[in-house]
Symmetry: C2
Subunit: 325 residues, 2 copies
Amino acid sequence: MGRGRRTPRQTDIARIAGVSQATVSVVLGGNRTGVRLSERTRLRVLEAAEQLGYVPDPVATRLASSRDNLIGVYRFAFPAEAYYPILAGVEAEAATLGKDLIMFTASSAERDHLGIRRTRLADCCLFLGHEAPAEPVRALAASGFPIVYIGHRPELGDVVPYVGGDYATASADVVTRLVRAGHRRIRYLSSGCADREQGVLAGAARHGLVVPTSDLASATLLTWAREGVTALIVTSALYPAVDRALRSAGLSVPADFSLAVLGTPHPEVSGFEEPRRALGQEAVRLLADLLDPAGEPGAPHRLLPCPPVPGKTIAEVREGHIHGL
Amino acid sequence: MGRGRRTPRQTDIARIAGVSQATVSVVLGGNRTGVRLSERTRLRVLEAAEQLGYVPDPVATRLASSRDNLIGVYRFAFPAEAYYPILAGVEAEAATLGKDLIMFTASSAERDHLGIRRTRLADCCLFLGHEAPAEPVRALAASGFPIVYIGHRPELGDVVPYVGGDYATASADVVTRLVRAGHRRIRYLSSGCADREQGVLAGAARHGLVVPTSDLASATLLTWAREGVTALIVTSALYPAVDRALRSAGLSVPADFSLAVLGTPHPEVSGFEEPRRALGQEAVRLLADLLDPAGEPGAPHRLLPCPPVPGKTIAEVREGHIHGL
DNA sequence: CTGAAAGCGCTTACAG
DNA sequence: CTGAAAGCGCTTACAG
């Protein structure tokens, strides 16, 4: 065991090589300032470093240079499976840029949001998930530390750059798909996803056809069927409840109702996809742009298209009659 | 955007409060050295810190104090699902000790094992998975940096402390369970897991009954059945292949053969459990002990018991005849 | 061409 | 009771 063996520093190398510590730093740093250096000195330093098994102290390096080529990723807990595609995207893009990743996880013991601050061990940081307390994140961003949120959190205001899916557009497109399929009487079951809701209402305004509601009792569904409603739009969160309500009303999809979901609860259900992997990649790119002084000013956000999922729950309606796909 | 706003440091607080930077440090550090401090000064400092939204720089803190209350967790890639229980154990125990976690991931761009070295941003580090290159890990441990490997990697020699399952004992117990169930002719299908193999052979030596082999052709299985072999022992890795071979030979478990697996491919299969969560917890405890100067010297390892999984694939044998459970 | 100095933002002995 | 100094291990201007 090397318990007693002190880890070697640049001064140790300097002593052996017979040069100053600063020269050691220049040599080991690849001499990027283009200082003139005798080859002999260079080799002596390199040899001594090798001999001692020198490894730079990342903490000192970071303090002195204020860059460590590290991208932080902050999550409130170890990432759930749903985050994997995002993380894969992050990893791929980070590798492309030659950056390493470092993940921060708030422990349950976290009182004073120290975890969020600790984030500054890296050059910059990505934030994932909506559990992180908003205020410390906002403060961090306001202090000039480059961060990018993956997913939009309106509570953060516009000081925090983010990437997200363009759910508004995708939701409006869902309305359009239904209208194209011939639907005229459509109910939208709202559950408070601001951007999706805005999209649906925008689509609705364009076609004047969608009625928002929050009632999903089986009895209501039967009434709608009688009134000639042919399609339902629901959020992913509401999908299971609606599915149950339809079953208990004895109604089937898409025979009695066409069903469009603002998300992808299941590949057979018509809706749209969250571009998870692309979100991860784009987040890293945005972060890189923020680090670059020539990059975009302000707190930019980037919205990524959400590809439609055709699914099997939208039927064609012709002359008031529902036809199978 | 606070682009221009410099993040406040202790000197800024000192200027406002009219004290020295060192005093600020003492006040904010909770005055753990027990320096006498006038309450007035203390409040002035706290107020100025609050007003400026001061947040300590973790890098500087770590460099100056050489402790940052952070436990590193190193993995070669984002952890696969199988690691979740381990990570949950790590997280729980870290929270108990009031330590935060920081995860290091080697990017694909990793040439010179910088990722492993970067580990020193934390006070100490846990290593997970056998993909990490052995040499840099060994060097890190030899330099006196406290690390603990989760899982035993014999290539690392004995400089690296580790926690692992006691697979040797659990494997020997598997043999004993078969013997207790009346089995006398047992075949062990070896696949090169050193500790498990050693356990099986130790168990075998005790009972003089197990014949190791590496042949798992269907024909061989039929021959064994004819010879009166009543039980097979296989590793988890081999289980699918053996299962296929048995099927294609038209043999069924446990009617024709009892089957014991050195692991848990499926809860219905008799074998033993890897104590994943406990491994995570114990690893953190060992790390804490290593950090404590009064703790164990050398490179200790701790082996955790692997609880038996009863399963349904071991039948009783009485007077040479196989009976159902 | 090379070395000595200052500084990154903190903590921790040590003087007054 | 409080402040000034030294130092953590590096990088990066700046003198010789």
